[in-house]
Subunit: 290 residues, 2 copies
């Protein structure tokens, strides 16, 4: 997994434009937003799903990089003062703190454009590339990340049922997790029903794994300090955001996350030993609950 993260980091460094002495710091800010580490969860899910279908490694690295560009776009925009107003990310000042708000807005726009450019220029058949574009675009549409973030903001200060929080998380981050897995798998598979069972297994895995990630995020926001998180802790409560923890309590949230991980684990049993990387990602993600 560490090797995969390094490969994706290298792909990002290669695919992003390089600062060329222009008078703006847009490109420097894009690289700042994407090349400061991070867990690379979406890219690693893509690589792991690709391993299930013998997808070519070079294509997977670039698809992983495109996923991380889009993920960084959502983080940079979500951190803006008009949104979650966050000053710290991965232990560093957020992009708008470091480069100004205008640049941060443009960084997100440009990262999204470069993600699609990366997919369009991929060394793969046109048919594969267009399916990748469709998956990624859907994942950040109004039915995915953009709609989820809008819902997240709309719920501030409200007391809502856990189902509403879960629906929001599924859009806000679940959709991109699902896309990451599908994009990894589809890039070596023709578009036909012979692989429906694989996609069903991956979709079920992503439902559990993607939601658990967010539940754990809610938990860590309460239990960890800012230094450990690399972003401001206690932010959800300060912002009056309803979370799994604020609505269900810490104990029930922890149990929910464990149940979700277990469901994700069962989802990939039919895939056999080739799903080993996904299994490892589950194990690793679950350690912070122990």
């Amino acid at each position: 997994m560490r090797a995969g993260a390094v490969r994706v980091e290298q792909a990002l460094a290669r695919l992003l434009p390089t600062a060329d002495g222009a008078e703006t710091d847009l490109i420097a800010a894009m690289r700042y937003a994407t090349l400061q580490g991070g867990k690379r969860t979406r890219a690693l899910l893509c690589l792991a799903a690709g391993a299930l279908s013998d997808a070519p490694a070079a294509a997977l690295d670039d698809i992983g990089a495109a996923l991380e560009m889009v993920h960084a776009c959502t983080l940079v925009h979500d951190d803006l003062p008009a949104m979650d107003d966050d000053v710290l990310r991965r232990g560093l000042p957020t992009v708008h703190v470091q480069f100004g708000e205008a640049t941060a807005i443009l960084v997100g726009d440009a990262l999204q454009a470069h993600a699609f450019l990366t997919l369009a220029q991929l060394d793969a058949p046109s048919d594969t590339r267009i399916r990748l574009v469709r998956e990624l675009a859907q994942a950040i549409s109004t039915e995915g990340a953009a709609g989820g973030q809008a819902l997240d903001l709309a719920l501030v200060g409200k007391r809502v049922a856990p189902e509403r929080i879960i629906a929001m998380h599924k859009m806000k981050s679940g959709a991109l997790v699902r896309a990451a897995l599908r994009m990894g798998a589809l890039c070596a598979l023709p578009e036909n029903s012979a692989h429906d069972a694989l996609y069903r297994a991956l979709d079920r895995f992503s439902s559990g794994f993607g939601l658990a990630l967010q539940v754990v995020d809610d938990i860590l926001d309460v239990t960890e300090d800012t230094a450990t998180l690399g972003k401001t802790s206690g932010k959800d409560a300060d912002a009056q955001k309803p979370t799994c923890v604020s609505i269900m309590g810490l104990q029930a949230s922890r149990q929910l996350a464990l149940d979700l991980y277990r469901d994700a684990e069962q989802a990939i049993v039919p895939l056999g030993p080739r799903a080993q990387q996904l299994e490892q990602m589950l194990q690793r993600a679950a350690t912070c609950l122990r």
Copy 2:
């Protein structure tokens, strides 16, 4: 041309998500940002270029709609307080004034995603669709609209040579004008060198026409009032933005625009009578200089 604009408006109304009683107004704001008219210049350029290569009309309408989504994305983000801080657009309150800043940021992000989704789902061969995605992504990348807007902001308060303003305009809006023409033309042409002359003619046309649009924009900002423009007039001077007018003067700017239109006109002479729609767009655009 009016018929073309109506068809693109209908395509937009059909392709954009419809509000479904959700608790956010993201979708309402996206439709507000795109369905309030406008000249639809980019979409009409796409239709006109498509007429040169017998491209199927239905595909052109959808490509035109995708271009207008991306154009609206740049307008909504450029109008934000951290950018150009504009409160009026097409005679109506800008999106952040009407729906709030957070929603305006998400509107832009979602419009970009839905533009790529539209291209990915187009009724056309995969090969065509992926070339369309590449053209559009390049046009809004750091080499296109995103880079141009960053440069525009970086030049505020500076006294610069006209060449710098021109270089900025070529990125900020010229790149999307160029893409609009290429996207219309390519959608009925295979990717080979047999059509190089057509693309060369269109690229030269777009250089003249696209830049002239911006020079005229600079002129109208000085000569027209807010009611006529539908957006705040005198904005460039207030914001200390160097423009063609502030640097070259009104008379020289007018002459530059006329020269650019003439060059665009010459560029399409070799295309013969099929370039009639492009010719008409030139005539119409030039009327406001008389």
